[in-house]
Subunit: 331 residues, 2 copies
């Protein structure tokens, strides 16, 4: 632990989406750092929430299973909290197109409920909101900086962008402080791998575990940046502990950018999984963003954050975790 | 009537927010142009919907008072329509801050319901969505072009921007065609002048009618552009009838830009109203955008539209209308 070594000691911290992949990993780190953690997660069906994710800290955290779409429940949840990590959300781009009204409720309404609940009942709480690189849409230049135009290409990107704006607006107008992080492809232990809703890495990991061939859409040359979960948790903890980040938007990202095919070849080395190139399905092609990698130097400058785990090591640890705890995720 | 002289003849047209200021004015023009008009307006309390607005065409239009926040009702409303003008919305910047969750439901949910209803039940309908110059936030350069960065400074601007994105996304991905117009200060007969929810001109007009002094916040030097209702109706009719506008966003605007004080002085000449300069209330200052006027040359280029009514004439006609029909608006 770096600059936030004692920052969270004894602090009351709310983690929304805390039974999910990133939320549970963050909650474990917060418990480790001496925080009093409340996990808020309504376990929306087919989403990332999974009780197994917090089994090692189950008796050290409070769990609230209310639904953030209900304003009154959010008001109760924010009371008496020092810090809030707002990770609850619908993350699947495809599902946001198939169920746009649900995505709107989960991403827009829940986030508006959160900032408004804070304004009314806990204006001194500090929040970190986890957004997505999807808000940029198709990059017009690489690497993508935070001032790149935003033109989301799917419902999820639109709603996450609106949620960003709610946080920034409440910060500016009401001093309900928050920082927005735009995450890129995050992977690691505790990913939701049971269905296809949490991005292509989770699908590929399941294929590895099941010894099924990976299907690569198109030619696999699309560039991406990848962050291992521990690095993202580190970024989250640093961002909230760094006052100069408040009221601003930052990209995360990785030092190297690699193609989807690069990633699959690494998986192949670790697990001997096979792959095949298949045509890009039309519904996915329409919302694909092409090559993407982000410029995260602004965040480094303010926080000193550096992603430490490279893709090969991270994928190895990920597969090892899921082999060991397979029944918690693929039962 | 110019290029759309016969375009609307016999066409089935839905006007959402059709009992409001712009919606009713548009509906009258559509009836005149031979369209079969359905007005959809749930008459949300304190908003612009007013039965008196359509009294001259009451027996020539169908009126549907369902609420666009209900998806099933929107699905019914869009069926068998050729064209849709989507004007229903919450327009008050101040109210969007006081009642953000309501603004979200009215502006985001209703718009998502509309595009999704069209996708499912009437994908060939063409829609014009009326957005607002508020999506830009505080201008960083003037005149503001459509590619100016968007950074809304209030809840209304955020939600209207999300609604724009829904329309553009559905246009691109599903060929559910629409055009977005970003309106600036629109004024004229049938403005909602009973309360302060429809912009400063409506407040000023009420003051004139009541012989009460106008309060100008700050020094009144903020620049704005103003469009008379007939010019906006003309722009709406032209935009839908111009295929090259589809899938794009256009500003409206006026040839001259004038200060708030300029406008008040014109009102003073017409009606002898008094004014006083008062400090900018803090809640309004926080969401004020400073000087604004838009570049509308892109829209002119495609449609040939030209705003014809200058501010002095427009205000004169507006006051005359409200003097004649005062009891319909201030009872």
């Amino acid at each position: 632990m770096s600059t936030y070594a004692t920052f969270y000691q004894g602090k009351r911290v709310l983690v929304t989406g805390g039974l999910g992949f990133i939320g549970s990993s963050l909650s474990m780190a917060l418990v480790q750092a001496g925080a009093q953690v409340t996990v808020l997660d309504s376990l929306v069906e087919h989403h990332g929430g999974n009780w197994q994710n917090i089994k090692t800290i189950r008796d050290q955290v409070e769990v609230n299973t209310h639904d953030m779409r209900q304003f009154a429940d959010v008001c109760e949840a924010v009371k008496n909290k020092d810090y809030i990590f707002h990770l609850a959300g619908q993350v699947s781009h495809g599902d946001s197109m198939r169920e746009p009204l649900s995505d709107l409720q989960i991403n827009c309404v829940s986030s508006m409920n959160l900032v408004e609940a804070c304004r009314q009942f806990n204006p001194s709480a500090i929040t970190v909101y986890t957004s997505t690189r999807q808000v940029y849409g198709v990059p017009i230049s690489l690497p993508v900086r935070e001032d790149h135009p935003v033109l989301p290409v799917d419902v999820n990107g639109i709603n996450k962008l609106a949620a960003e704006y709610y946080h920034l607006l409440y910060h500016r107008v009401y001093d309900v402080r928050s920082t927005v992080l735009r995450l890129t492809n995050t992977y690691g232990p505790r990913l939701q791998i049971k269905n296809d809703r949490q991005g292509f890495i989770s699908v590929f990991v399941r294929k590895c575990l099941n010894n099924e061939p990976i299907k690569i859409f198109g030619d696999g040359t699309q560039l991406r940046d990848f962050n291992y979960i521990d690095d993202v948790v580190d970024a989250l903890l640093l961002s909230l502990a760094t006052p100069s980040c408040l009221g601003k938007v930052f990209n995360l990202g990785s030092k190297q950018h690699q193609s989807v095919l690069d990633l699959v070849k690494i998986l192949q080395k670790i697990s001997a999984v096979q792959y095949e190139i298949v045509p890009f399905p039309q519904d996915k092609k329409l919302i694909d963003i092409g090559d993407y990698y982000g410029d995260f130097s602004a965040f480094v400058e303010r926080t000193g954050w550096q992603p430490k785990v490279d893709l090969a090591d991270g994928l190895k640890q990920t597969l090892e975790y899921f082999k060991q705890y397979r029944s918690d995720y693929l039962s």
